[in-house]
Symmetry: C2
Subunit: 334 residues, 2 copies
Amino acid sequence: MAGKAKPYDPGIEEMVKGILAGDRRMLSRAITLVESTMPDHEAKAHAVLDRCLGMKRESIRIGITGSPGAGKSSFIEVLGEKIIAEGHQLAVLAIDPSSSRSKGSILGDKARMEKLAGSRNAFIRPTASSGHLGGTSPRTHETIVLCEAAGFNVVIVETVGVGQSEITIDTMVDFIVLLMLPGSGDELQGIKRGIMEIADAIAVTKTDGEQAALAGISRADFEAALHMLPRKHPFHERKVFLTSALAGTGIIEVWHEIRDTLSSMRESGMLPSRRRLQLSTLYHEVLENMLKARFFSDPAVQAARAAIEQQVLSETLTPYSGAKELLGAFLRQP
Amino acid sequence: MAGKAKPYDPGIEEMVKGILAGDRRMLSRAITLVESTMPDHEAKAHAVLDRCLGMKRESIRIGITGSPGAGKSSFIEVLGEKIIAEGHQLAVLAIDPSSSRSKGSILGDKARMEKLAGSRNAFIRPTASSGHLGGTSPRTHETIVLCEAAGFNVVIVETVGVGQSEITIDTMVDFIVLLMLPGSGDELQGIKRGIMEIADAIAVTKTDGEQAALAGISRADFEAALHMLPRKHPFHERKVFLTSALAGTGIIEVWHEIRDTLSSMRESGMLPSRRRLQLSTLYHEVLENMLKARFFSDPAVQAARAAIEQQVLSETLTPYSGAKELLGAFLRQP
């Protein structure tokens, strides 16, 4: 009966104190708590979050998105160095698509962003991407809040540019950079329009060596593509940058673009109002998802669901009647 | 106490019999019933619909969309004549954006599609657009079902190309024609991409008189724009047509494109599988909207809503915590 030693489990006060003092291990613990789906973890996470909410500093939140292989890690590694060099404290919420477990992720990411991981002004938090589409989840917002409470004033969120996640990331960051490989305009045809529409700038990556010749063509193609889309912000013209993480070119220009755009948004009062709008959008998105999850996991709904859907698909029940019937099953319960 | 004469109110059997016999007044009554939001009307409407569901003929469902002023009515008038000339029975579910009341709509639309309204092979049903975004609603599908039961084998649904409605119309029709005025490529910048993405063909309208010169440029611009988008169906290349309702040109070509595309979709078995997919999408869309409507009209939710949202926006509660709290208010009820 000689039990295992009880694992160290700091209380709410201790955790909050640690986070506010910039203790990275405590920050990591809090993020794990926020990401947990266990009910008692959830309650504690919310208590910690609510204490941290008032403590956030003025910050810059950057989204970096692009297909797998677009060079996100290398780009962030170089971008991160430039940011730190200006005296900022940088947190990177990085996706590791190679692993579905946290442990694998941590090792993978440390290898991916070696220099940044070694800096005392950077905090890299890998997230396994298997759990959520595109690697972001409604909880990513909470993680950003914790990082800001811990003193990080620049937060980079890395996402893979697929599906619904771009729309979500747009409610969480101030500026989104879309990374694209050099290539002909043909590849644009396959791009999900959602990604192009939320981008505030495009960085063409790996424009070195043999790819250098292609890069100029790509820039023109991407500029034409951006021209086809309605502007994201009325005052802001989206630019295309040619970058190389290997040669170290073009990336400081991207950082200046981000910094300058946000500082003029801040001066004009647009940033706070945009953040309120983002919070509202995120809140409604989370609410809708929770409501649907609760509905579809309901026993009465699960019992009735297949039969009703079958009737709708075989055209013995209209979609409207079917929906009414299933909603009735949900509401009739005690 | 000499009461008013009780209005004529046919029973379910009489109504179904009338619809199946092609009685237009009975069809109109049934559509009014389907569009009604009164609970006893709703029950009767579903009984009629469920009887009609098995009686549908093989049909072609066409969506015509475009901004106000793009020439939808004139286009449909000419297109409708071509369709009727081939021996088809045509139903047109037309939006009248000029009126928010049915009576005004009917007069307005009769004037708009004069020739078609006079034909014994066409049935025009105007819908006031004020009630629903873009003039379609989940009930539009039910109205199509009723028209098909009444023997109409071609159904045209007119929508104004704004907002969410295009996505919904894509779950209801087999082929969508987007109408665009001739003009420079600049106007493309303002177009909602959603509309372009669901179009199966583009018809440039009013390419007569002074506009004729612009039309050629427009065609090239629209073809380039379509080229930028991923294909809607892998086998089908979207075409751009130059049309004039005034000169009567180009519109028969649009009809042949619709007819031929659908006949090859039917032969390959794609049409039935696509319709099943549409039914499934429509069902889930209606279900989600009903669930949300029920949630937000709930007294406990309405009581708690403003305070929680205020806390989220003032950053004293995270979006996640706020959503959890409001969902709790909904579920805790008896």
